[in-house]
């Protein structure tokens, strides 16, 4: 890849950001009236939509009900127009199933499911435009949607994808930067608890510590932005309902 410097000598990345800078985050809650909770988020050029239904009675296989907790059912899918080449199989392929499973595990750690025995909570996430950090943006969108639905959670779940180039950790990767090593971290910011950590690339062990620290800092940055979005939404709606 001649001429494609992921990190220039002056410390600028391909899109002009510094190494620890996040992409611009814009989000809105309550975009769908018919769902219990919904949210739309844009992180740079990656756009995702999350919709939450529940908690409601278990539909489908009755034998999957848990007597003491709610079951979280996640579906991740990408729109056919979301990638550079038209995606032929938007859901059901191995990557989507794996992502759905990861999202389910992430939210099972944060949502207080023991308050809803024998119920089901559905989370549907759709990526409308994929430009790197798909999993992280989906987690952030789903967090906002769950808050919008009024389902109790221990804390926000914020996620960020980080990479390592030239001994420097890069926060919030875009698609071009993801080709190297990329680590996705989902964090509960207040306690610093990790909900999910995922990486499938090669990284030297000595760099792991620095990369994890960078990921945690980036996630805390994302949590500040999401916090602002939620508080603004709360303010707007409470003004409407207030006397």
């Amino acid at each position: 890849m001649a001429g494609l410097e992921l990190l220039s000598d002056q410390g600028y990345r391909l899109d002009g950001r510094k190494a620890t800078e996040l992409r611009k985050v814009q989000a809105r809650m309550g975009v769908f009236a018919q769902a219990d909770g919904s949210a739309y988020i844009e992180q740079g050029n990656t756009k995702a939509l999350a919709v939450v239904y529940g908690p409601h009675e278990m539909r489908g296989s009755r034998n999957r009900t848990l007597h003491d907790r709610a079951v979280i059912n996640c579906q991740y899918s990408m729109a056919t127009f979301s990638t550079a080449e038209r995606k032929r199989r938007p859901h059901g392929d191995r990557k989507s199933t794996e992502m759905s499973l990861h999202l389910k595990q992430t939210f099972e750690a944060a949502v207080m499911t023991q308050l809803y025995p024998r119920s089901q909570i559905d989370i549907y996430v759709k990526v409308l435009q994929a430009d790197g950090g798909n999993y992280s943006v989906c987690v952030n969108a789903a967090t906002l949607a769950i808050i919008d639905a009024g389902i109790p959670m221990r804390d926000y779940v914020c996620a960020c994808t980080v990479g390592f180039v030239d001994e420097t950790p890069l926060a919030d990767l875009c698609f071009a930067e993801e080709s190297g090593s990329s680590l996705a971290l989902a964090l509960l910011p207040r306690g610093g608890q990790i909900a999910l950590l995922q990486m499938d690339a090669q990284l030297h062990q000595d760099h792991l510590e620095a990369l994890m620290d960078a990921a945690m800092t980036a996630c805390k940055g994302v949590s500040k932005v999401l916090d602002e979005v939620v508080r603004r939404h709360l303010q707007e709606v409470s003004v409407l309902t207030g006397e």
């Binding site: 409601h56 119920s119 709360l234 409470s238």
Partner: protein, 284 residues
């Protein structure tokens, strides 16, 4: 340093708005209610909403939530399943509600013991997809509601229009069945399901609430019901509390517009503003 239960104050008056993970207080003297959890002596919010303090009880009321039924609530629900000796009813709550065969009035208004034949003919009384109005008799431990229709005003619903809105917008009143003077009747279910139907002509018994007439409804009645439905949607979009008076005022205010125009956002806003003004005038 012991942080008292003041939290963060918003600039709009005295509302205390919290988000999940916010510590409400570190004082252990408070009891925790819904929407909060205990995290190492810190009382933390688990939903985004307003903090409510009643003496020593702190709870957080989320902006919107599924219907949490209480004993005595009137609900409108849809039958989802016919099981042995009971029906499962969907009422916009977190578990389907239960309607036992012994809790319904048999056709003919008879009071008799349920026999095996009644069990086999359950489907002839209520099928999957039917709408009913019922009252909450009790709440199970896991949160499911037990319903009953043991009064002639409850039972299967006939021809009409169902409007689904958020349960938090329905005002709790003494009665939820209203015959509006504009020519239609309304059932404001506490679970957010509102049923609009033409006022029944004769007030005779309806054979235990299972007989539904399939006679065609006149055009004027249909217009009234359509207008009411659009008014309900307008009021719920602007988060106005719904009860018979507010619905009636909204209907009267909207008479100057065409029925289909009420759904336009600008017209909606105007109508809701005029309704709110009228409510303030008449109720202070």
């Amino acid at each position: 340093m012991n942080k008292g239960p003041t939290g963060r104050h918003s600039s709009h008056g005295s509302k205390d708005l919290v988000v999940p993970g916010d510590v409400i207080t570190t004082d252990t003297g408070f009891m925790r209610g819904h929407g909060t959890y205990l995290d190492d002596d810190n009382l933390t919010a688990s939903v985004a909403g307003e903090v409510e303090r009643v003496d020593k009880l702190i709870c957080v009321k989320p902006l919107k939530t599924r219907f949490n039924g209480e004993v005595g609530d009137v609900v409108v629900g849809r039958i989802t399943e016919v099981q042995q000796k009971r029906w499962k009813v969907e009422t916009n709550s977190r578990l389907d509600s239960v309607l036992l065969l012994s809790s319904v009035n048999l056709p003919g208004g008879e009071l008799r013991r349920r026999c095996a034949e009644d069990e086999l003919t359950m489907r002839s009384y209520l099928q999957e997809g039917d709408l009913i109005s019922a009252e909450v008799q009790s709440v199970y431990a896991d949160g499911a509601l037990l319903l009953h229709t043991r009064s002639l005003k409850y039972g299967k619903l006939g021809q009409g229009v169902l409007v689904q809105i958020s349960p938090s917008l329905i005002k709790r009143q003494k009665t939820h069945f209203h015959h509006l003077p504009c020519g239609a009747s309304i059932i404001l279910g506490n679970n957010g399901f509102v049923w609009l139907y033409p006022t029944p002509g004769q007030q005779d018994e309806e054979a235990g609430g299972f007989f539904t007439s399939l006679e065609p409804i006149s055009l004027s009645d249909r217009e009234v019901i359509s207008r009411l439905r659009n008014c309900l949607l307008a009021l719920s979009a602007h988060k106005v509390l719904l009860y018979d008076t507010s619905v009636l005022y909204c209907y009267e205010v909207s008479l100057s517009q065409q029925v289909k125009d009420i759904l336009k956002p600008e017209v909606m806003e105007e109508i809701v503003m005029m309704t709110q003004q009228k409510l303030v005038e008449h109720e202070g």
